[in-house]
Structures are given as C-alpha cells and as structure tokens.
C-alpha cells in the first residue's frame, strides 16, 4: 500500500507566551507499507515535531495526517513510539515495562499466559531476555533503549516511530543497535519512520531519506531514495560507491545548500 502514512499540507505553529513559532509548513509526505523512512535535518528543523504529528501526540495547525486511511487524531499503540530518552518507567522491571504495552493492546482478547509469552518474545527479540527482572537503573543506556524498542514492537504496531533512538548512546553501542534494528526490521517487515541527525545511520538504515530544510517554517527539502539491497552490511557498504554517493548527496544538502543558520547569515 503506497499511502500507508499520508501527510497532506501539514502546518504546525506553536503559540507560546513569547509569541507564535511557525515550526513546519507545507509538509507533504507519503510512506509506503514496510518502508523505512528517516527524517534528517539540522537541529530545530522540526523533525521531532513532524514525528509527533504522525504519532498523534500533537495535532497540526492545518492540514491532515492519515495512517492506513484513517485520520490521525490521537496517539495510539498502532503508531508505537520509541523515545530518545528511553522513557522506561523506573519502578517497573523490564518485563513489566514491556508487559504494560502488551496488556493494553492484547489484554482484552488473550490469556495471561499468552501475554507473558508475547512479552518474553519481544524481550528476546532485542536480546534482553536475561534482564527481564532487572529495573531500568540496573541496566546500561543501550540496554534501556533496547527495552524501549521491545516495548514498541511488542504491541505489533502498524508503524514504528523512532525519535533519535540512538542519540544518547556512544558510537559503538549505536552501531550495534543499528545492526540489530536492521535485522529486526527485516524480520518483522515493520513500517518505520525514524528521526536522526546522523547521516551514516540514515543512509545505512533507510529506504528513503527525507531531508528537511532549516527552521523556522521548515519544510521538506529533498527526498533521496536509497537503492541499496538488503540485508545491508555496514562494513561492505563502507567501500561501496553507491553508499558513498548517497552519503555525499545528503551531506551536500545539509552542509552546502542548507548549511547551519550561522553560516548562511555570514
């Protein structure tokens, strides 16, 4: 299905005490089912805002968003979100954190044993089965983020939304989790929209790269289709000319044509 997620003429203006801030204008985007799309851009370009609009956490000032032909009017487990700050509830164990989502989505129709099986499976999918009884403060940042991903996936969402999920992690952990995410997405065939500002991550993971212009009143600048075959291996791709070219294209957009605001002013 080609318009699994459809954003039509979305605009977002925030009204604060200090005045109104025009965050996004003229956003038109469609995401196909099973596609991996990343939103990339400089800080303050509204990529998280756009993700929040798709999630339903914020409503657009004008325009409409649709998911699976239904209007996005509120947040829902169907559009599960993985937050940048893992947002695991610290008073629950990892198991209980994931179970919270599972129970919400499947609690009405399935037995306790089945819910527990789903929770366990989700944790094992991200390699965290061994830490099921641990609390978030007892595990590392990378592990917390993995549990966050497990919680989102356990709900079998239509769309997986990720807001700079690896931003708070060190480079090695980030690389490992990117590889794991690739494997998971290959298996689950999820539709994913991810926000990032890491160019390598974006080119490695996505099918399409949406590059946004600078804020305020940011909009979609260009969309790059990354035609690299899956499964993708980062070591092999590092020398691949196509990968390098895609990377160059993105860097060109971000740093030459839509360089950071200060540079443009000067």
């Amino acid at each position: 299905m080609n318009n699994f997620i459809l954003v039509e003429n979305a605009e977002m203006t925030f009204h604060t005490k200090k005045g109104s801030f025009h965050a996004l204008r003229d956003i038109n985007l469609s995401v196909a089912k099973g596609e991996f799309v990343t939103l990339i851009g400089h800080s303050g370009c509204g990529k998280s805002t756009l993700l929040n609009l798709i999630a339903g956490l914020t409503l657009p000032t004008s325009g409409a968003l649709f998911c699976d032909n239904r209007e996005i009017a509120a947040p829902s487990p169907e559009r599960a979100v993985v937050f940048q700050n893992h947002s695991l509830l610290p008073w629950l164990t990892c198991f209980q954190n994931v179970h919270l989502g599972v129970e919400r989505v499947f609690g009405a129709t399935e037995s306790k044993a089945q819910l527990n099986a789903r929770t366990k499976a989700a944790l094992e999918l991200v390699d965290m089965g061994h830490a099921a009884t641990k609390r978030p403060h007892e595990i590392s940042g990378g592990m917390k983020q993995r549990v966050g991903i497990a919680r989102a996936l356990a709900m079998e969402p239509k769309v997986l939304l990720m807001d700079e999920p690896f931003g708070a992690l060190d480079a090695l952990t980030r690389a490992k989790l990117q590889d794991e995410l690739l494997k998971i997405v290959l298996r689950t065939h999820s539709t994913v929209v991810m926000v990032t500002h890491d160019v390598d991550e974006a080119v490695l993971l996505s099918d399409r790269l949406v590059m946004m212009t600078n804020g305020p009143a940011a909009t979609i600048g260009e969309i790059v289709s990354v035609d690299l075959p899956r499964p993708r291996n980062r070591v092999e791709l590092a020398a691949d000319t196509r990968y390098v070219n895609y990377r160059k294209e993105v860097l060109d957009f971000l740093y030459t044509r839509h360089g950071h605001v200060e540079k443009q002013a000067a």
């Binding site: 089912k33 099973g34 999630a55 956490l57 509120a74 947040p75 829902s76 487990p77 559009r79 599960a80 979100v81 937050f83 700050n85 947002s87 509830l89 610290p90 008073w91 629950l92 919270l100 989502g101 919400r104 099986a117 789903r118 499976a121 989700a122 094992e124 999918l125 609390r135 978030p136 403060h137 940042g141 917390k144 996936l153 356990a154 709900m155 079998e156 239509k158 494997k183 998971i184 298996r187 689950t188 065939h189 999820s190």
Partner: protein, 304 residues
C-alpha cells in the same frame, strides 16, 4: 493489519533464536571458562563491626563533649541539675515507665504513647485529606489557581494559633490537639504532592498517551509511583513539625501526653524531669524521622 506479511515478534524471535543456536559454536568439553566457575556462589562479606564502631564514634564523642560542658556549667549550680543527678532521676523514671496512678499521673511510657497516638491520628487525617488534594491541585490547573493562594495565606500561620479554634469547635482537649496536628501537617503534604504531580516527566505521560492508558491506570501505574518520592518527602517534613507541635499543644491543653508532662514537671519545679523529657522528645523525633527516611529510600529509584 495484513498478518500474512507482518511477522509477529513471537515468530520473529523464534527465528532469531534458531539462527543463533545454529551459529553458536558448541562449548569445548572439559575446559572451564577463565572467569567464575559455575559452582561458586557469591559470598556475602562479613559484617563490618569495625566500620560500624567508627561510624558511631564521632556522634558519641560529640554527645560526650556536650555532657562534659553541661557538667562543667552546673558544677556549682543549685537550681540547674548536673548530668549525674539527671541520670539518676532518669534511671528511676525508666525503671517503671508504664505505671498509672490516675489520669494526671502516668508513667513516661504512657505519656509518650498518648502523644504518639495523637500525632498518628492527626497525621493520618492530614495524609488522607492532603494527598488527594495535592494530587488534584497538581493535575488540574484550575484547582491549582483556586487553592494555591489559600494555601499560601494559611501556611505561615503558627499551628498554635489554630488551637483556640480547635478548642472552640471540639470543646475538648484531645480533638483540639489532633486538629492542631492536622492543620500543621497538611501543608507540606499538599504542596509536595502537587509539585510531584507537576514534575512527572512529560516522557512518562507521553508513554501513557501512546499506550492509550485509561485515567485510572495512569494514576495507578504512572502518577502514583512517580509522585511517591515527593509525597514521602512531604510526609517526612510533616512528621518533624507534628511532633514539635504536639508537645506545645499539650502544654497548653493539658491532660495527658509528653508535652503536658513537661509543663506539669515545670509546675513541680522538677527540672531534672524536664531535661529528661527534652532528651526523650528528641529521641522519639529522631526515631520517627529515621523510620520515614528508610521508607522513603525504599521507594526511591536511581533514575537516569
């Protein structure tokens, strides 16, 4: 949802596990890992008596210095008792702490218990009223705007100024004392709970929104555990004030309790007993505070 194409995490993880087993090399038979052999259990370190002694040493030295100063100051005094005299009187008192020779002449044990009972009741009522009010103020801005100025107005009033109103309304010493405890303990509980609710990280609330949790589930699974540390801080602050106030209130109302006992002994010019009472009040207050700190620690989590 097209489930034929969308592989569930259940199926996907089963696949992953099978793949992992195939890739994993079988362990070499006969060799033990360089790290902990499987039969070793984690041994608990022996109790650190030396450390505990060291920790107790400095407070004891401080106390000793105080007693020494006291002894020096009262070496030639006729009105103020020396530490030794006080200690002898304390020995007599604590030999029989639970005697009862009539409503106004009870053992020190009974007096402490009466005071604690009043504190417990007043405190319990304050928690029962203050915490839900704090929750609602924190959650609904309208209520906050209505009630906050009232709280700011009433909070600085000394609880003892509320005592006459209590006596007027309840016409008896016991309820009036409880009322005074109630009115002085309630403010930290309301305010701290409200702040706790307002400080719940937006991320947790966003999680609740994405998961579409019902309002009751949000309160039970997110708000309540998140606010608990703040609530317990409020409770801890209240306990100190409550214990302080009960002594003062009892001095004014009479009847039973440690505060009444202090005033009674002053009327009997039994200064030794007053000093003993001061120590006892301090110790009980310390025990209450320590107990609440322990409870608060149990429910706090190192959040990253």
């Amino acid at each position: 949802m097209v489930s034929a194409v969308f592989h569930t995490p259940l199926a996907a993880s089963a696949e992953l596990r099978a793949q992992k087993l195939a890739l994993e090399k079988p362990p070499v038979v006969g060799s033990e890992g360089p790290l902990v052999p499987p039969s070793a259990a984690v041994k608990r370190p022996p109790f650190d008596w030396g450390g505990m002694l060291l920790k107790a040493l400095f407070p004891l030295v401080g106390l000793g210095l105080l007693v020494a100063l006291w002894a020096l100051a009262t070496i030639n005094s006729t009105t103020f008792p020396s530490p030794l005299e006080t200690f002898k009187a304390a020995a007599v008192l604590f030999a029989d702490p639970f005697y009862s020779k009539g409503p106004n002449d009870q053992g020190i044990g009974w007096n402490i218990l009466f005071s604690l009972e009043r504190v417990a009741v007043g405190f319990g009522l304050a928690a029962a009223v203050g915490i839900p009010v704090g929750f609602m103020i924190g959650r609904f801005k309208v209520l906050n705007d209505m009630v906050s100025p009232l709280i700011s107005l009433l909070r600085p009033v000394s609880p003892l100024a509320w005592l006459p109103i209590g006596l007027l309304v309840f016409k008896a010493a016991n309820p009036a004392a409880i009322w005074t405890i109630f009115i002085c303990s309630i403010w930290p509980m309301i305010i701290n709970t409200a702040v706790g609710v307002q400080r719940v990280p937006v991320d947790y609330l966003n999680v609740a929104r994405v998961l579409n949790l019902s309002e009751w589930t949000i309160i039970k699974k997110i708000l309540f555990p998140a606010v608990l540390p703040y609530m317990l801080t409020g409770v801890r602050l209240s306990v100190g004030t409550a214990w302080l106030v009960i002594v003062a209130a009892e001095m004014l109302t009479g009847g039973v309790g440690i505060g009444f006992w202090v005033w009674d002994e002053w009327n009997n010019l039994n200064v030794k007993h007053i000093i003993i009472a001061i120590f006892v009040i301090g110790v009980v207050g310390l025990v209450l505070e320590t107990a609440l700190v322990a409870i608060a620690k149990r429910f706090s989590y190192d959040d990253v």
